[in-house]
């Protein structure tokens, strides 16, 4: 029987713009100061509906801060945030160059999204747990990780703390409470709820922060996380980084709603959408969520609205699926430029000082790179001993692995 509703085709969505088309985003209707800040400890999830459907911003288009969400950071704190973002960008550039010259196998930049991990980690306490994706390596700078050690991991050389076992950017940094990154997308999101509930069980003042991409929010793990966090009132901060693109798949394929933040409301979670390129807004929203979680009022679900300026990875070519200049049209601009302009407006920064900072960081990164390749690069070695294939598979090596180990090592 023919149907009036079914026209013989599956209605498949599309990205807003494709190569050859002119990208043009509507300017945002949301301005700093639009949205009040409810009491994080006592408000109900229903009180956050406007926060989920709106957009928390602090910096306006001219780099001035205003509104209840202005975290009132000192100039020193702002400069620290700016420095980490510049460090991450220059570090990423150097790592891409290493990848292109065969010194490491693969790389993923945080380009355009530097504020996410850096502002959010700065808003946490030292004891809080970080359960990242491959797009939040910047948190390690905030937690004080040595850059040489990070590069050694990316190379997979003899000083790689994870012994060449995982691809580049799959960091593990226990000292900084930065949990080992796994390639399958989304898995960390629901695991983070478990990390948080362990803190509840132990009665510790610890909050767990985690992130997931817009694309990966289509995985079951995302929904497990929201439900478990709600049911067990977990002290976690659940961030959906909506950077518009999951490799070639636009966010239109990840949800039929067009808004990620509001998906937390029916789960009973406080939910907020925030401008992901606004360092101050990100800091403030995260601080709010941290306070809520630590007070026993449960999880916050945050959509971090941003744009993936770079390719998904060194293996990706975005010019095949989106206009080359699409990122220049993004209403959120660039997180580094926006914080820099804000500091200049405050007369706490200048173009000259910024240039000096970039030069200093560039030297720091080049020095770290030179120190790291002394421990080996992917093209020339030396590599971790093949022994490391067999160790730490189990706490103690069982007989069958000992036999295989001896077969390979000739022992």
């Amino acid at each position: 029987m023919a149907s009036k509703g079914n026209d013989g085709k599956i209605p498949v969505p599309d990205a807003p713009f494709r190569p050859g088309e002119q990208a043009s985003f509507e300017s945002w209707p949301w301005k700093p100061g639009d949205l009040p800040m409810p009491d994080p400890k006592n408000c109900q999830f229903q009180d956050t509906v406007d926060l989920a459907n709106g957009l928390v911003r602090v910096l306006d288009d001219d780099g001035n801060a205003s509104g209840e969400w202005d975290p009132g950071l000192s100039a020193d704190q702002l400069r620290t945030g700016l420095e980490h973002m510049v460090r991450l960008r220059i570090f990423d550039d150097r790592m891409m160059k290493m990848q292109r010259t065969g010194l490491l196998s693969f790389y993923m930049r945080s380009l355009g999204e530097e504020a996410v991990a850096i502002a959010q980690t700065m808003a946490l306490e030292e004891q809080d747990w970080i359960f990242p994706t491959y797009r939040q390596p910047g948190a390690q700078f905030v937690r004080g990780r040595d850059m040489v050690s990070m590069i050694c991991h990316c190379i997979g050389n003899i000083e790689d703390n994870i012994k060449g076992r995982q691809m580049p950017v799959h960091y593990s940094y226990r000292e900084g409470r930065f949990i080992s990154i796994s390639s399958p997308v989304g898995t960390q999101f629901s695991q983070a709820v478990g990390v948080g509930l362990a803190s509840s069980y132990k009665g510790l003042d610890e909050v767990t922060i985690t992130w997931i991409g817009d694309g990966a929010s289509a995985e079951g793990d995302y929904h497990y996380a929201l439900n478990f966090a709600s049911v067990f009132n977990a002290p976690v901060i659940l961030n959906v980084v909506n950077n518009q693109w999951a490799i070639s798949t636009h966010a239109n394929f990840a949800t039929g709603v067009g808004n990620f933040a509001s998906r937390g409301i029916p789960y009973g979670l406080a939910s907020i959408r925030v401008d992901g390129n606004d360092f101050l807004a990100l800091y403030s929203v995260t601080k709010w969520a941290r306070e809520r979680a630590a007070s026993g009022s449960g999880a916050t679900h945050i959509e971090v609205l941003t744009y993936r300026t770079g390719a998904h990875s060194s293996s990706d070519d975005p010019s095949r699926y989106r206009p080359k200049d699409e990122h220049t049209k993004w209403p959120g601009g660039d997180p580094i430029i926006r914080l820099k302009e804000h500091l200049i407006n405050l007369e706490e920064w200048s173009e000259d000082r910024h240039k000096e900072l970039e030069e200093r960081i560039d030297t720091e990164v080049v020095d770290a790179y030179k120190a790291a390749v002394k421990f080996g690069d992917l093209a020339n070695g030396p590599y971790p001993s093949a022994d490391t294939i067999f160790t730490e598979v189990y706490e103690e090596m069982p007989w069958h692995l000992k036999e295989q180990h001896d077969e390979l090592m000739g022992g």
Binding site: M167, A218, T249, F253, I389
Partner: protein, 336 residues
Amino acid sequence: MTNMNMIQSLNSALDNLLENDSDVIIFGQDVGYFGGVFRTTDGLQEKHGKHRVFDTPLSEGGIAATAFGMGLNGLRPVVEIQFADYIFPAYDQIVNEMAKVRHRSGGEFWSPVTLRTPAGGGIRGGHHHSQSPESQFTHTPGLKVVYCSTPYNAKGLLISAVECNDPVVFFEPKRCYRGPFYGDPHNVPTWSDHPEAEVPEGHYNIPLGQARLAKQGNDCTVISWGAMVHVCEQAIRDSGVSCDLIDMQTLVPWDRDTVVSSIEKTGRCVIVHEAPKTSGFGAEMAASIQERCFYHLETPIERVAGWDTPFPHTTEWEYMPGPSRIAAAIAKTQED
């Protein structure tokens, strides 16, 4: 006949299938507009329409479940799981649902889904872009499991898989997409001069359940599938031993007759796969071979496999079976 690499031959198979059967529908992550991260579905959306070749949310479980439902209602979905390492969120749908529905419904329902998935190592993919999980599916009654190795068999097997009314998990050795792999990472040949890269442009089948005798010899039977077939070819050359090389092509149901008749001739056998040794499909084959060929075997069956460890990044060439390990196993079977 046209010279094709494996990406092109798979693309050609999908193109033929879309052309010939309006019930064929293709979807998965990045397979639509972009044409797949390995370019396997390149141009198919443009040619056959967005409603037949499309992108999906990033949800392997959702992809498998949706395909299963479409299959129940008469379509013939061909879905891509971007890396075999990422098939596990779909495991329940494949193992408990697709594999069992024909049986559980007394034959009233079935779902002819084909799940294509790039598998295996050799691309510096570390833990989660390198695994070869075929035995996690060969252990599931109701599924057919295929592992291609050349442009020619990739196309003929994929067409048979899609036309088959049972669910099929179709593994593609990603290291061989653009050329055979002989176990030396510094030697990167293309398919351009390879006889198995001469591929008909039209429709043809390679029946499921039929192995390919890739090389003929007298003194040892070497059995493999996927990228390891080419590594075995190199190892046989290095060993100087006259060997039958059997490319299984299909693991469930596997071509026992071809294996048995070869071993009855040679009396010696080496099984090679890149997946871990423990509970690998080689174990099943070795058990069956001793049941059928016990009195023909001159020496114990040798297995060369990936180690029973996660797949490493930097040291992957120490992990994957290489020609020297395989040649040593062949030599061992020749000892009296």
